[in-house]
């Protein structure tokens, strides 16, 4: 029963890269329709997975971080472990698709 946390450029290092638990980061933007479409799916994953921290990062406000990971398409759902981006899913897809791409299913 966890909520999706807000991640910014200032908190990315601490909340994502230095996290003890794996972290799913939903790179999104307010003008991205598919990002809005999958937002409820991200909320669901956050609710169901206590072993994972789930956060969202607005690429409009943190373009440097999106750039750092070479992100060129959103929604971009990245799984971070031990400070590294290990897996990702790009584009709107059902929950099962996201979990499969991230190796969670």
């Amino acid at each position: 029963m966890a909520d999706v946390i807000e991640i910014t450029s200032d908190t990315f290092q601490g909340l994502v890269l230095e996290s003890e638990k794996p972290v799913i980061v939903d790179f999104w933007a307010p003008w991205c329709g598919p990002c809005r479409m999958i937002a409820p799916v991200i909320d669901e994953i956050a609710r169901d997975r206590e072993d994972i921290v789930v956060g969202k990062l607005n690429v409009d406000e943190a373009p440097n971080i999106a750039q750092q990971y070479g992100i060129q398409g959103i929604p971009f759902i990245g799984l971070f472990q031990g400070g590294q981006l290990v897996k990702n899913a790009v584009g709107a897809m059902p929950r099962a698709g996201i979990e499969q791409a991230l190796g969670l299913s």
Partner: protein
């Protein structure tokens, strides 16, 4: 499995939600399985300028939010998931979301259509790394860079015009020598100094290793091939109906569009109705989808009434509206 719903609506674009508004106001308490793509194609549309009632235009996602609220206000229930299987062979009809079963006396199919891809190898390889079907989502990542848009319909025009706001230049690659788009959109594109058009050209491949560096095109008249330098390729070549759930059950044409009886939303299965882009091979507009959604709800309501009255055959496609 729970109680049997009177009306089950599969899909939540303008067709499904309009059907929901009408069915809910008729007291049928519709259940909408809205899908993970809730809201349909308008969710990836920026400015909607041709939907009546919005003189200053409206953002697609905002409009769908309003549709949904209106349906909710009259008692529509929603499930945000994709239907995975249906059984329309007997009544009540049944639809599954994973293991959850939902039964209904009448079903309205409004599953819409999805963007088509070119189907070339480079496209798949570079997906999310410069290949996209959503300029409003991903244009942002190609600020001050040259990009390519593939297609010749309204969607391609809209994507190209949107991209001129941020990109250095936009090249439209189109396989014919004229656009299929509406005159106003085509005019805006042709008048835009940042847009170049490659007529009679098809995409052969996407260049680049980690990121897209160019798009290889072939001129279908001369046969010449060359590479257009580009950091991204946006594909906007049309749509295909989302009907795989209904293969072998509902009548469809060669392209997979559901067939409905003329001037109605009746499919070949009595009690199953289809509306919106899933059955529209001609107009494919938000307003026509909404209109046919209204028709489907009225058809379903009257069909249910006829069933209750003990009638064995439905009112028929030619019954007048009043």
């Amino acid at each position: 499995m729970g109680d049997v719903n009177e009306v089950l609506i599969i899909g939540s674009g303008p067709a499904g939600l309009t059907a929901a508004i009408y069915a809910a106001r008729a007291g049928l308490e519709p259940l909408v399985i809205e899908g993970y793509g809730a809201g349909g194609q308008l969710m990836i549309t920026t400015d909607v300028e041709n939907y009546p009632g919005f003189p200053d235009g409206v953002e697609g996602p905002d409009m769908m939010q309003m549709f949904r609220r209106q349906a909710e206000r009259f008692g529509t229930r929603f499930i945000t998931a994709d239907v995975t299987r249906v059984d329309l062979s007997e009544r009540p009809f049944r639809a599954w979301v994973g293991d959850d079963e939902h039964a209904a006396d009448a079903v309205i199919v409004s599953t819409g259509a999805s963007a088509k891809w070119l189907g070339i190898e480079g496209e798949q390889r570079m997906m999310g790394r410069g290949v996209s079907a959503c300029a409003t989502c991903d244009g942002f990542f190609f600020k001050d860079k040259p990009v390519v848009v593939v297609g010749g319909g309204d969607t391609a025009m809209e994507e190209a015009l949107f991209l001129t706001r941020m990109c250095e230049g936009v090249t439209i690659v189109h396989r014919r020598d004229e656009f299929r788009a509406s005159a106003i959109m085509a005019r805006r594109v042709l008048d835009n100094p940042k847009i170049t058009v490659r007529w009679n050209s098809v995409v052969e491949d996407v260049e680049g290793d980690q990121v897209v560096t160019g798009v290889k095109v072939r001129d279908t008249v001369t046969g010449d091939e060359d590479i257009i330098p580009a950091a991204a390729m946006f594909v906007a070549i049309g749509h295909q109906p989302n009907t795989s759930l209904f293969e072998g059950v509902l009548d469809m044409d060669d392209e997979g569009y559901l067939r409905t009886q003329p001037d109605s939303t009746y499919t070949n299965v009595p009690g199953v109705f289809a509306c919106g882009d899933v059955q529209d091979t001609v107009y494919r507009q938000a307003v026509t989808a909404a209109g046919s959604g209204c028709m489907a709800a009225i058809d379903a309501e009257r069909w249910l009434e006829a069933q209750e009255a003990g009638a064995t055959d439905h009112a028929g496609a030619s019954a007048s509206a009043d």
